[in-house]
């Protein structure tokens, strides 16, 4: 299978197919960007042109200055950021336990975590609403953080476990012979070595929380606690004609997701094998 053994016609097909894939992957995002910079007066007359004859950032300035999107953006950053930090802390502990200890009930824990990845989460929409309403956790960012944290802990635990498995046990055992407690060895020796894995977990969880829609729709009905997906969707159903502004908001929602994608891209394979059920 050496490249030189292949004929020119093979490479033509190879690059042709790849060009098709790249075009298919990028075209929708390109169109999002294109409409977001098209002035309203050209939107319909130049509907299917690949680039408008005149472009403007007016939709962006409108969205940033005169709409609730900066608030939605802030809410989403708070929710996704807090979720990512809490999940990473909790799953570092449980992932470490899964990697280093043999304890009674370990198989049950693995089974429990696998089951939570398989069953339809949409089942929980109604009961969680019913449980959260009297606790004041509906219409609250805290409520969303609690839900997202629980949903992401199993996957993050498997992910952290796979990172801990890659670190030799001798390191902390040496520290424990020198008199350190296991928890101290974990904090001071193992965790610093796992920093790239921690960054990957933060990225995965942030991206998942940033995209979550159904529970945010159900649990939040007020604009001041809306996350970006909910805000964008209510905007779409209310002002369904202002495509330029909606797509400008869409491009803004894409930015943090793409940043975190760059952060975790190196760990994609490991992450997907750890939690193959997760999107």
């Amino acid at each position: 299978m050496t490249p030189s053994a292949r004929s020119t016609s093979y490479w033509i097909v190879h690059y042709g197919l790849l060009a098709f894939y790249v075009a298919f992957a990028l075209f929708p995002l390109y169109w999002l960007l294109k409409v977001s910079v098209t002035p309203n007066d050209l939107l319909y007359s130049e509907g299917i042109r690949l680039w408008p004859s005149r472009s403007s950032l007016a939709h962006y300035t409108f969205v940033l200055a005169h709409s609730d999107f900066p608030l939605f953006f802030k809410n989403s950053v708070i929710v996704s950021g807090s979720t990512a930090v809490v999940v990473t802390l909790i799953s570092a502990l449980s992932g470490y336990a899964m990697s280093r200890f043999n304890f009674g009930g370990k198989m049950w824990l693995v089974g429990l975590m696998l089951v939570t990845q398989m069953f339809p989460l949409v089942m929980l929409v109604a009961p969680i609403f019913k449980l959260f309403a009297p606790l004041g956790l509906t219409n609250s960012l805290t409520g969303l953080v609690v839900v997202y944290t629980a949903f992401n802990v199993p996957f993050a635990t498997f992910l952290m476990q796979s990172f801990f498995d890659g670190i030799p046990k001798d390191l902390e055992e040496a520290a424990m012979i020198d008199g350190a407690s296991r928890f101290r060895a974990f904090r001071q020796i193992v965790l610093p070595l796992t920093l790239p894995g921690i960054a990957a977990t933060l990225g995965f969880v942030f991206t998942a929380a940033w995209s979550e829609l159904l529970f945010a729709l159900m649990l939040v009905s007020k604009a001041d606690a809306s996350t970006f997906p909910v805000g964008l969707l209510s905007f779409v159903s209310k002002f369904s004609v202002d495509f330029g502004q909606m797509m400008a908001a869409g491009v803004l929602a894409l930015i943090p997701a793409c940043l975190f994608f760059l952060l975790i891209q190196r760990y994609l394979v490991q992450g997907l094998t750890a939690g193959a059920v997760k999107g």
Partner: protein, 310 residues
């Protein structure tokens, strides 16, 4: 493991016993936060939700909440919208998984060669995976909209559509809108998983096969596919469950319409709970979905064991 003097006897034994206990409890302290959180936010609501299936639970009606036995399931049996959503779930899941897998496999095979520019190509084709699902749905809904999207015009020009209309509002083909969005978004998952498996196939096997005169197609069917088979099986099976549950794209793009023609079971559950606020009926439908998925997983496990025994 640490410093324990050997010459002391009676009192330290007690201390050692205590330390043994802490050592044995230690792993449980590490997993406690995760277990508590999963139990309270996932297991307890799951059990409560299952009980709703037998109760009259309507959020807007404060007098509801009484047990009504199997009433919801009787309604379900004659609910045409539910049976339609079952049929749509099959179409949605099968078409999405099959297309994602086929495109993902070809992409993984293409990326498994070394060629100039591979790194950048790989980052670009995997990018859709990073796009939040609600945005993928909206983005494709806009592309299918003849007012701002090019797709209806292109399809009309190619003769696929008689006129540049929105396929999302045509009941007979609307389900293909969310399927296309799902395929676009999900190809990277299969490509990444299969690429990892491809890269673990030892290269000398291919060389030996070439020397023995095996052509490219022979090498693909006799080496690549058997090596990939376990990964393919696991990825397809898990992905099937995941996609059958995946309602976001449908909620965003069509909300189940027109005339419930794109409603799948999980989006039907969400619609019942979110729009009609009928938590009881939503939970009854959810229970049916859960039982079907359990049955599916059970069949898969049996199949796997009978294959392993062979």
């Amino acid at each position: 493991m640490s410093t324990m003097p050997l010459h002391e006897e009676a009192a330290p034994r007690q201390r050692a016993g205590l330390r043994n206990l802490t050592l044995r409890l230690e792993p449980y302290l590490y997993i406690a936060p995760s277990v508590v959180l999963i139990a309270t936010v996932m297991l307890v609501p799951l059990i409560i939700g299952l009980s709703y299936a037998f109760r009259d639970m309507q959020l807007i009606n404060p007098f509801s909440g009484g047990f009504i036995g199997l009433e919801h399931f009787r309604t379900l049996w004659t609910d045409a919208a539910f049976w339609l959503s079952m049929k749509n779930t099959l179409v949605w899941t099968f078409a999405s998984v099959a297309l994602q897998f086929a495109f993902g496999l070809v992409l993984a095979l293409l990326l498994n060669n070394s060629f100039p520019g591979r790194g950048i190509v790989q980052a670009l084709v995997f990018l859709p995976w990073a796009v939040p699902t609600f945005l993928s749905g909206l983005n494709w809904a806009w592309l299918f909209n003849p007012v701002v999207g090019p797709l209806p015009h292109w399809m009309a020009a190619l003769g696929i559509l008689p006129a540049p209309e929105n396929i999302l509002s045509d009941p007979s083909v609307a389900i293909w809108g969310p399927i296309v969005a799902n395929v676009w978004w999900g190809i990277p998952f299969f490509a990444i998983t299969l690429l990892a498996a491809l890269q673990s196939i030892p290269q000398d096997i291919y060389e030996a096969a070439s020397i023995d005169g095996a052509g490219p197609w022979r090498r693909f069917t006799d080496i690549t596919l058997p090596f990939l088979a376990p990964t393919i099986a696991i990825a397809v099976l898990l992905r099937t469950v995941w996609i059958a549950n995946f309602a976001d794209l449908i909620i965003v793009m069509t909300n189940g319409g027109p005339a419930d023609q794109t409603q799948i079971v999980s989006s039907y559950i969400f619609t019942q709970a979110f729009r009609r606020l009928d938590f009881g009926y939503a939970s009854a439908v959810a229970m049916v979905l859960l039982i079907l998925l359990l049955a599916y997983s059970f069949v898969i496990i049996l199949l796997r064991q009978s294959l392993l025994r062979r």
